[in-house]
């Protein structure tokens, strides 16, 4: 099993621990074996331990330590936001966030929708069953 996701300049990573949990950041330079210099459009460029990062499949084309403007332009050019939100990982995270932010009325609406969907599925199933037995 060769490795597919490498720590390299331009690799997009997800922060999985700490104050910036859940953010997408770009690895802008490598300090040493355990730390990287990391940047995102809404944070000050800072260092982060690799233990706090999970690498994604997305990589953008930047030079070592670009300034903020170049970084934002490169992120736009590579369309990182849309790529992330359409990937299965990104979609799962969006659904998780939505579920965590529901209020009781939303959960009630979801319950009704689930019952309706299950009713429709059961109707189709009984139709298919009737066709095969008769």
């Amino acid at each position: 099993m060769p490795f597919k996701r490498y720590v390299e300049i331009g690799r997009v990573a997800l922060v999985n621990y700490g104050k910036d949990y859940g953010k997408l950041v770009v690895i802008v330079d490598v300090i040493d074996q355990n730390r990287a210099l990391v940047d995102a459009p809404d944070m000050v460029r800072g260092q982060m331990n690799f233990k706090r990062l999970t690498l994604t499949d997305i990589k953008i084309d930047i030079k070592r330590v670009p300034n903020k403007k170049t970084l934002v332009a490169a992120l736009e050019a590579a369309d990182v936001k849309n790529k992330w939100e359409s990937s299965s990982w990104g979609r799962k995270l969006i659904v998780q966030k939505k579920r965590a932010s529901l209020n009781d009325f939303d959960r009630f609406k979801i319950m009704l929708a689930k019952i309706k969907k299950a009713g429709v599925v059961r109707q189709e199933l009984s139709k298919l069953k009737k066709e095969t037995t008769c």
Binding site: V7, E8, I9, Y17, D32, L37, R45, G46, K63
Partner: protein
């Protein structure tokens, strides 16, 4: 990023006497965890260099020095003098870090782990930012690569907050990336 060691600029001189109306003023840059310790360290070093003690001297100023560019990576060279179990030795160590305080903290922890030298047995002689060409140690030079690329081989996934930590897990972890 909170650092344990802060850099201070301490300025002091001996008290003026009848023979010496304007004693020479000395300034030192040193690392300590807080201001009180910095002042104490200042007198410790000054006693070794000049005939002056805290009791016949005065502190003129103490300011903390902050990193000018904490968002750029630099190679720091640190010259130090430390006391081992058998004598005093000099050492030169290199660290890659964003701030000098971070590099000094790395130095203290590394000296403690590699040579069992505690904080009070280490004296920092000199520090400098070294340009990449002049670095001596292979372990810093291996990161001087603009196309650096390596995989993360052992990836233990941690719970995102310490509150979600459990002693027992239902299944064995997947450590691949």
């Amino acid at each position: 990023m909170s650092y344990k060691y802060h850099q201070f600029q301490v300025v002091g001189r001996g008290l003026p006497t009848e023979t010496d109306e304007q004693p020479k003023i000395y300034r030192m840059k040193l690392w300590a965890t807080n201001e009180v310790r910095a002042k104490s360290k200042f007198w410790y070093y000054l006693r070794k260099l000049k005939k002056v003690k805290k009791s016949n001297g005065q502190m003129l100023a103490i300011n903390e020095i902050f990193e000018k560019n904490p968002t750029t990576i630099k190679n720091y060279g640190i010259w130090l003098r430390y006391q081992s179990r058998t004598g005093y030795h000099n050492m030169y160590k290199e660290y890659r870090d964003t701030t000098l305080n971070g590099a000094i903290e790395q130095m203290y922890t590394e000296m403690a782990s590699r040579h069992r030298v505690r904080h009070h047995c280490i004296q920092v002689i000199k520090t400098a930012t070294i340009p990449a060409k002049l670095c001596k140690r292979e372990s810093t030079k291996q990161f001087h690569n603009s196309k650096i690329k390596f995989p993360l081989v052992f990836k233990k996934v941690r719970p995102p907050t310490r509150k979600l930590k459990t002693t027992y897990k239902a299944s064995r972890p997947n450590l691949f990336v």
